[in-house]
């Protein structure tokens, strides 16, 4: 199947007073139409920055230094700001983490929702409002006529996140990027939002990139998963493959450090010791080597090449290189 979005060897840096932060260091990923791709990792691993780089939304100190971004057979890095804005408005929707600050408090919900349509689809106000009304019903907001005339402060957190989803969907994008869409919400509201995202994919066939640190959400929502660490993707696999035949020690560590409520008793959490690496002076070898219990000498010296498996899984770890397996046996 053809790829909807393909990112190759993306590098992004931030020029700060403390030095140049290498936030994304060679990320490659792709997503097919209608697929849900999860990106997991801890704060500072570069998952949000990757998405902002793809969309050309980095702030002034950020810069994409290398790499290609192909969306729908167009190279986004070559496009002018105006054309890029056209794509962002029409074909790619984005939901941000914090619904409390992502809406403009001075404008009515209806005006904010229809802004997209009036600019990008050149609709008149009446048409746009009718469409906005329809989309509010779709994301489960009762009394849409009344709601369209209200301001963001009249909405609760869950309702604002629905408005954000409605706003991202109103132009019927092919790709939806959801950056921690439920982190600020309660579990019961989170469940409602996840159900909406699932429906969306079923009814409209929208491809979704879901950025999260919650391995439970990934297990439930995603088809395939990229695990990021220290600005790199360390493992990529289909969701069942990732959970049941985990290949990278970091993924293994993550899975061992979250409680599974289904285990009745005595589950011991195994935390990952230490801290994530400093990306101003990133380690030359594998970024996880300092915290990895399997680390060998070569891990701190050079970055392991990515190994590809037949089922599409990829892992960047020396433990899976053929010579290591021949010498030491399979350790993970």
């Amino acid at each position: 199947m053809s790829k909807l979005l393909e990112v190759e060897n993306l590098h992004t840096v931030f020029h700060t007073y403390a030095g140049t932060v290498q936030a994304v260091r060679g990320v490659s990923l792709s997503i097919e139409p209608g697929q849900v791709l999860g990106i997991v990792g801890e704060s500072g691993c570069g998952k949000s920055v990757t998405m902002l780089s793809i969309l050309g939304l980095l702030d002034e100190i950020g810069e994409v230094t290398k790499g290609n971004v192909t969306f729908d057979e167009k190279n986004l890095r070559d496009l002018s700001d105006k054309n890029l804005q056209h794509i962002r408005g029409n074909d790619i929707g984005m939901i941000f983490q914090d619904p409390m600050t992502s809406l403009n408090p001075a404008y009515r919900i209806g005006d904010q929702l229809t802004e997209h349509l009036r600019i990008h689809k050149k609709m008149d106000k009446k048409q746009a409002m009718a469409k906005a009304r329809k989309i509010l019903v779709e994301v489960g907001i009762p009394n849409p006529d009344q709601r369209l005339k209200q301001y963001p402060h009249e909405f609760s957190g869950g309702m604002r996140q629905r408005v954000m989803i409605a706003m991202a969907l109103i132009t019927e994008p092919k790709l939806l990027i959801a950056d921690e869409p439920t982190t600020a919400l309660d579990v019961t509201i989170q469940a409602q939002i996840l159900e909406i995202l699932k429906d969306l994919r079923k009814t409209h066939g929208t491809a979704i990139i879901l950025i999260t640190h919650d391995l439970g959400i990934v297990a439930e929502m995603c088809d395939s998963v990229c695990v990021m660490y220290g600005g790199k993707i360390v493992e990529r696999a289909h969701v069942r493959d990732l959970y049941y035949t985990t290949r990278h020690p970091y993924t293994k560590g993550l899975l061992a450090s979250v409680p599974n409520p289904h285990e009745v008793d005595g589950q011991k959490l195994t935390p990952i010791a230490g801290q994530p690496p400093d990306l101003i002076n990133p380690p030359t070898g594998c970024p996880f080597a300092a915290r990895c219990s399997y680390a060998m000498q070569m891990c701190t010296v050079s970055m392991p090449e990515v190994i590809r498996y037949e089922n599409g899984a990829e892992v960047a770890c020396f433990l899976h290189h053929r010579q290591v397996i021949e010498q030491k046996g399979r350790m993970i």
């Binding site: 579990v187 159900e195 979250v258």
Partner: protein
């Protein structure tokens, strides 16, 4: 026989809110009648959605807020109406670990000052510094960290400093108010394991307040579920997870995403309708009535009280068996 350490009876905490042209007096009923006994050396988990009053409850137990009504007994002594002076000896026995490690440490104080501030002044300066070093090693930091300032530490390390500060006065009872919710997954497990280990070594009792139910279930012996200022269910943590009696607990549990693709895709989820009702105008009858799938006419008139529905299992619902 388990010894009760903290006994809470009919605890209420109402906050007056004044607004509008005529300053109409309204009350925000954050905690509205909580009865709870916490036994020695146990971990009692308190869960619920934001705004349900779990943090206020924890703070009122420590008398950081004056309770509006009800009583708090600590080791059999009624401390509800104690003055600041009378509370002083108790302050060293009950401590708190705060949610936000970025806001709860004074940025102008060095780590050693933060940790030693509450220590008994009858110790010499030198003894205090010895103790600071001991505490730092207990929470997994190095002795030379004592001379640094909070901004030099990461979130997980700051939370360790907050724990060292709480331990500095040798408390028996610690209220942990969302101690891990601002930390990364791999760091959360570090802190939770440390809290468990400290409990064993120092015979601590925890009131663990959090909204992450899987973590609360992992660390707690018993769990109380709060909704709009009231406890709706109390049970042993496994019992609560396997056999919830209250429909709210049921919905809350079914909403947890489980880190296992086969299980999480197979399970049936109860999606609650709507949002939590405002704690300012609480309707009569059961507080959960509007969102409940078991709701009957009686629920809108008569508020169910917490009653025994199994061994060590209390539920506030008219129809706990459905």
């Amino acid at each position: 026989m388990k010894q009760p350490l903290v006994e809470i009876k009919g605890l209420h905490k109402h906050f007056p809110i004044n607004y509008g042209l005529f300053r109409s007096k309204k009350l925000l009923k954050a905690v509205d009648g909580v009865d709870l006994t916490i036994y020695e050396k146990e971990t009692f988990g308190l869960v619920g959605e934001s705004g349900c009053g779990k943090t206020t409850c924890g703070r009122t137990v420590l008398k950081l807020y004056e309770p509006t009504a009800g009583s708090v007994h600590f080791e059999g002594t009624d401390i509800t109406n104690f003055s600041r002076q009378q509370m002083l000896p108790y302050r060293s026995r009950m401590q708190m670990i705060f949610q936000d490690p970025y806001a709860s440490l004074n940025p102008r104080m060095m780590v050693k000052q933060i940790i030693s501030e509450g220590m008994d002044r009858s110790y010499s300066k030198k003894q205090q510094m010895e103790r600071v070093k001991d505490l730092l090693s207990v929470v997994g930091l190095a002795a030379n960290h004592a001379d640094r300032f909070p901004h030099e530490f990461s979130g997980g390390q700051r939370q360790r400093i907050g724990i060292a500060r709480a331990l500095a006065v040798n408390p028996k009872f610690i209220v942990c108010d969302e101690p891990i919710s601002s930390l990364d997954v791999s760091i959360q497990a570090q802190i939770v394991n440390m809290l468990e280990q400290l409990q064993e070594e120092l015979d601590l009792t925890y009131l663990f307040v959090a909204h992450d139910i899987s973590m609360v279930k992992h660390i707690s012996d018993r769990i109380g579920v709060m909704y709009l200022g009231k406890l709706v269910e109390i049970a042993d943590s496994n019992e609560l997870y396997l056999h919830p009696h209250h429909p709210y607990t049921e919905a809350l549990l079914s909403a947890i995403p489980i880190p296992d693709p086969d299980i999480s895709r197979a399970k049936q989820r109860i999606v609650l309708k709507g949002d939590v009702v405002s704690p300012i105008d609480i309707p009569p009858g059961c507080r959960f009535f509007q969102r409940c799938h078991r709701a009957r006419p009686v629920c809108s008139e008569d508020e169910p009280q917490l009653r025994q529905t199994g061994a060590g299992h209390m539920t506030a619902c008219h129809f706990p068996d459905e």
